[in-house]
């Protein structure tokens, strides 16, 4: 009986793992989006949202992405709503890609990610700099976009393995 309970708990934990990762990364003090290494940073949240909403939106709901965006704005101190909007734009692109793609292809996804990051970061920079008059470093955004794009295959591999494990747990 206890093993059955344990199994159910583990299964639901695995199911919510992408959501847990999302909230941990916006709440935690270690921000991969801002590592104290010069000329190196990448946006883990963008990769996470892009992968899970493209491959399997069943595990990451739009509502939780919206909430995570609000939390991220509060923690990083930028005008509330910007991150939510940017995260949801990624979701919009992935939803569109899902609708037009018959056979998923890694290269197409990767290039789409580059397009998405550039779009989202441009919107974010424009709104912060021009509308809210918050000084931002354009170079940092550029580097961040580059590394986010470069690191996607690595996280794709990790998330693919995780997804397989979640599916195995689900089918057990």
């Amino acid at each position: 009986m206890s093993s059955l309970n344990k199994n159910t708990f583990l299964r639901s934990l695995m199911f919510y793992l992408p959501t847990i990762f999302l909230f941990l990364s916006v709440l935690n003090e270690i921000d991969l989006n801002y590592l104290e290494i010069e000329y190196f940073s990448f946006n883990f949240v963008y990769i996470l949202i892009f992968y899970w909403t493209l491959k399997n939106p069943y595990y990451l709901s739009y509502g939780s992405i919206f909430l995570a965006g609000l939390i991220n704005d509060v923690v990083t101190g930028i005008p509330i709503g910007i991150s939510s909007f940017c995260y949801l734009l990624i979701c919009a692109v992935t939803a569109y890609l899902r609708n037009i793609t018959l056979s998923p292809n890694f290269i197409n996804d990767w290039i789409s990610l580059l397009f998405t990051i550039l779009l989202v970061n441009s919107i974010q920079v424009m709104s912060l700099d021009l509308i809210f008059s918050i000084d931002v470093s354009y170079m940092r955004y550029f580097i961040n976009s580059g590394f986010t794009f470069v690191f996607y295959p690595l996280f794709l591999f990790l998330f693919n393995n995780l997804e397989k494990k979640i599916k195995i747990q689900k089918n057990d």
Partner: protein, 285 residues
């Protein structure tokens, strides 16, 4: 041609409006909600401000709790480094101590003299100190700030100075009921009036988004006067926000190209406890 346009419209409509995969909200609703929040927030709409304060209260505490394991590891790493460099630190401290002992004697005299002179012109500076713990110091590419565990409940007000020991660190930019946010001097948007000593030149110290600041808006020939001398940057007290004479940082020496770069005295990455201070400068005139 028409059919490909139809396909595009169908794909867009489906992406934005369809609540697939057991989603509770459609994308369009959420995007619209975030835009509304963003717009109302920029107009200082009261409801959004209350929502923000509510979220702040919960999120700052949650962030503190979530970061406990990571902070423990970070502190452990710092402790280990200190242990490994114990001898070197001891030698450096010994030299510093001797130097400071000499300076202390001069300082005591100057302090007394300063006090007498202030009494003479009937000027008094009263400060109110509130000790606060840094609960979150999440680095962000947009904002260099820290969250403190004291808020309006403890009489914290906007614009109050944040001091680490005796060094200026930043100022309060957001106050919630039980916590507040302080903008660090290293933030791109931070600009404070300073005095460059020993040349007695007024300038503005701007943040760079990195762990140092730059001196701006001053006469350019001061750079030639510096040479190899170490210059110390203090607050000038202009604007009445901070009292004059709070140490901020010193120039990075022997680097021709970096003469206007200021290294802060306080290490903003290692802040645990700080003082929130407000100054009242009284004059008998």
């Amino acid at each position: 041609m028409a059919s490909s346009r139809d396909d595009f419209v169908i794909a867009i409509r489906s992406a934005f409006l369809k609540k697939s995969y057991q989603q509770k909200f459609s994308l369009l609703t959420l995007i619209f909600s975030s835009l509304v929040i963003l717009l109302l927030g920029s107009f200082n709409f009261k409801a959004v401000n209350y929502l923000k304060i509510g979220i702040n209260e919960v999120v700052y505490r949650s962030s503190y709790i979530v970061s406990i394991p990571e902070n423990y590891i970070k502190n452990l790493n710092v402790k280990l480094k200190v242990h490994l460099n114990l001898y070197e630190i001891y030698k450096k401290n010994e030299l510093q101590l001797n130097d400071l002992k000499k300076k202390k004697l001069t300082n005591e005299f100057l302090e007394l003299e300063n006090k007498k002179l202030r009494e003479l012109i009937n000027e008094s500076i009263q400060s109110k100190d509130i000790y606060a713990k840094v609960i979150v110091d999440k680095n962000s590419p947009y904002l260099k700030s820290i969250i403190l565990n004291k808020g309006s409940k403890n009489n914290v007000k906007l614009g109050m100075a944040i001091v680490d020991d005796i060094y200026l660190v930043g100022k309060i930019i957001e106050v919630n009921y039980t916590n507040s946010r302080a903008l660090l001097l290293s933030d791109l948007n931070s600009k404070i009036p300073v005095l460059i000593e020993p040349f007695d030149i007024h300038a503005v110290l701007s943040g760079t988004g990195q762990n140092h600041g730059v001196i701006e808006y001053t006469k350019e020939d001061y750079l030639e006067e510096i040479d190899d001398k170490e210059i110390i940057v203090y607050t000038s007290g202009y604007g009445g926000l901070f009292k004059s004479g709070l140490p901020v940082g010193k120039t990075i020496q022997k680097n021709e190209t970096k003469k206007n770069v200021v290294s802060f005295f306080s290490d903003f990455r290692q802040l645990d406890y700080v003082k929130i201070v407000s100054y009242e400068i009284g004059s008998g005139n």
